[in-house]
Amino acid sequence: MMELIISQVVNGLVWGLILALISIGLTLIYGQLEIVNVAHGALYTVGAVVSYYAFASMGGWVFSLIVSPVVLALLGLIIYLTTIRFALGKPPIVTVIITYGILFILEQTVFLTYGGVPRSIPNPIPYNIPFIGGDYPLYRVFCAVFSALVIFCLMGFLKWTRYGLWTRATKQDYETAMNMGIPVRRVYAFVFCLGSALAGLGGALAAPISSVTFTMGHSIIIDAFIVVIMAGFGSVIGTLVASLVIEVVIGVSAAFVNPVMAKVIGMALMVVVLFIRPEGLFGEE
């Protein structure tokens, strides 16, 4: 039994990191623009589909890891300029409904172009490492490391670069930032593109693990929401910690109870945390 628990914890950490990467875009966009992006799951799906076509055409899997974020950043810019930009001053509920409309549009466009049938991307690193209680896919370990790297780069970016400083400044106080000559409009557009790019990167990374189908965004968005609000909307570190905690808890409880109850336990954990701290683990009041 100990063996099983250890392998569950390891997979919990690995999948937790991947889920963190997928959710970080959601946290960033909320933290900055106060937007709950319901279309985040669709952006994740588009990322996976773009990486499928990039892989099919260019053959190089690494290539698709670059193409997806770039394409998604462009898509994010288009979405921002056409809809989100007009909603910034409005009550937050308006942006939820806008992104809900975008979810409809994106998902159906993927269905019409990519089609409804699932396809898969061959495993780029088809080796496993021997591990207690069976083998463990090396590709997943790579994904975990890659996600951790991206998240730390993001934190570094927010701390030390000029744009990062601006991003944090506009987060604290929109008006003063504007008066200090920070191009707030451009920062908002930049953050929305960055958030979309991260969603695309998450899609490209996870595509070989699961398979690429037009409804793959549905299940991921629920997990991402659980992680993001448990962490406290807008906290990057919180998202990392929360996704690790939740995935490990679900993994370990899956060793004892049936999988559905394990998932419900993970969700119940979120309910308890929010009951104690309504603003989430790392959220400010």
Binding site: K90, G101, V271
Partner: protein, 331 residues
């Protein structure tokens, strides 16, 4: 959000209401069988969206998990009719009771959150219910659900068979009308007005003496109960229910119908449901591929350009016109 307090005595308003009422009463005899079935379904979906409008349009909180109440209402009805006592009224009451108890328990936690946490929390709660409903197969029948035989409807002395769709139509119309009246009166009462004050400026409402946490819980419970009532109508119409009713897509539809129809107008949800359900039904056979895209664009256009939805914008336009027409009116 529409302006409150337009004078109730405006004749046009009442004329429209009476006209709609007459049409609805005559409809089942004029319409052919399928359009009548669609109209019955629209009344159910309208009542469900009304439940959403109470918490969103009137109180200003976006509950993205309304399907929890609808599913509970449907199963409440089926459990009562199948396992307790085969009576339609008991089923309806039990459906409402299931939804009310759930909304009080969850509402007590949820109404303490800020609006963003509220949105996401309600989605996750409805997903928990969906997973449980799919898992507890022996109780809920999972995605195959439970089929029931509808008992006869006892109204005081008379007994009606529910096999005739016209009787079903009038029962559902009656229940929806009563529910609508209760909700309308609530929002015309002092407490109802206080709930609307929360949407406008919660801090100030607290400062003039309203216990906003308590009022939000009242609004959340009323919203849940009305949605549960609508849920109870579903097995009444289709004599079946399934765990799929808990899936979040249904909550999204309530948002869609209310926003398009006109949030905060109480009539809006019914209009939104009527327009979109009939469009989805009629158009979808030719435009099946592009319909979701159209809906997405429509949703964005309305929330950005006409946030008050069809009815809200209409009412505002009428109010502006009437204001400018009044002699010396200061518009």
């Amino acid at each position: 959000m529409t302006t409150e307090g337009q004078t109730h005595s405006s004749r046009i308003g009442w004329l429209v209401v009476i006209g709609v009422a007459i049409c609805l009463l005559v409809a089942p005899h004029v319409l052919d069988r399928y359009p009548r079935y669609i109209l019955t379904e629209i009344i159910i979906w309208g009542l469900f969206a009304l439940g959403f409008d109470i918490i969103f349009g009137k109180t200003g909180l976006l509950n993205f998990g309304m399907s929890s109440f609808f599913g509970l209402g449907a199963y409440g009805f089926v459990f009562a009719v199948k396992y307790v006592y085969p009576s339609v009224w008991l089923g309806i009451l039990s459906g409402m009771a299931f939804a009310m108890v759930f909304s009080i328990v969850v509402g007590w936690i949820v109404t303490r959150f800020s609006s963003h946490y509220f949105v996401v929390f309600t989605i996750v709660i409805s997903m928990i219910l969906f997973l449980l409903a799919m898992n507890l197969r022996s109780i809920t029948g999972a995605d195959e659900g439970i089929n029931i035989r509808l008992p006869n409807l006892q109204v005081i002395a008379w007994e009606f068979s529910l096999r005739s769709p016209i009787t079903k139509y009038y029962l559902i119309l009656g229940v929806a009308a009563v529910a609508f009246l209760v909700v309308w009166l609530f929002f015309d009462s002092p407490m109802g007005r206080a709930v609307v004050a929360i949407r406008e400026n919660e801090a100030r409402a607290q400062m003039i003496g309203y216990n906003t946490a308590h009022l939000k819980l009242v609004a959340y419970t009323l919203s849940g109960t009305v949605a549960g009532l609508a849920g109870a109508m579903y097995p009444l119409l289709n004599s079946t229910t399934s765990a799929e009713l808990f899936f979040w897509i249904l909550s999204g539809k309530a948002v869609l119908w209310t926003v398009v129809g006109g949030a905060g107008t109480l009539w809006g949800p019914f209009l939104g449901a009527a327009v979109l359900v009939s469009a989805e039904d009629a158009l979808s056979s030719w435009l099946v591929d592009f319909y979701p895209i159209l809906v997405g664009v429509l949703l964005i256009a309305i929330i950005l350009l006409a946030p008050k939805g069809i009815l809200g914008t209409l009412l505002e336009w009428v109010a502006d016109r009437r204001a400018s027409m009044e002699p010396g009116g200061k518009s």
